[in-house]
Symmetry: C2
Subunit: 121 residues, 2 copies
């Protein structure tokens, strides 16, 4: 399985796992979080290999459908981006302060305020 898909399903699973059944949750977790193979899951849970495969495909479809409607992974990425952006700007302002460069600080702070307002929209 390619890594991109693992990360994608991993993120979706983190957001929406409570919307899956216990059985779906268990199989997705074993496959994506614990890196078990289809054969190992089949053996451990006493379900046919085809059954494990079908549950995985069905669960992936459900997770993607929820993302299409609620965009939680997309929003989480935006939020992380916002917070990293604010953090970087704070680091920059601290550097200015350490060098006693005070003139440009107010516009820089206003920039953060603008970001906050946009995030609250």
């Amino acid at each position: 399985m390619n890594i991109e898909k693992m990360v994608e399903i991993g993120l979706l699973f983190e957001q929406y796992k409570e919307l899956l059944t216990d059985k779906q949750k268990e199989i997705v977790s074993l496959y994506y979080d614990e890196d078990y193979s289809l054969g190992e899951i089949s053996e451990n849970l006493n379900v046919s290999r085809q059954g494990v495969y079908d549950t995985l495909k069905r669960s992936e479809k459900i997770l993607k459908e929820y993302e299409k409607k609620l965009h939680l992974v997309e929003n989480l990425k935006k939020q992380e981006c916002f917070i990293n952006n604010v953090s970087d700007k704070i680091v920059d302002i601290k550097k200015d302060l350490e060098c006693k460069e005070y003139t440009n600080l107010i516009p820089k702070l206003e920039n953060i305020q603008k970001l906050c307002r946009e995030m609250l929209k």
Copy 2:
């Protein structure tokens, strides 16, 4: 209907409306967003008053069940609180700068960085 309940259902509806059917969405929107009465909705949509009532109750239950599992309204409130908190601290730092009070600025900025780190957890 009391205002608290209207606000609660309004917030839930905003987060989870895409998980309702078109019919449920329409009735919840008319009742909670547009402030139509049961009778008016019944007349406009050509559904019995009891049907409108049942759809509303069923939709409210669905919305609450999703919130129990995904906590989107709860998380949104936390996020707003974080952003307002950062905004307030920026306002405070700007005041210090205007008064040329530089000594306490670094700890104040570090405080915002701490908030950001907590938010990213």
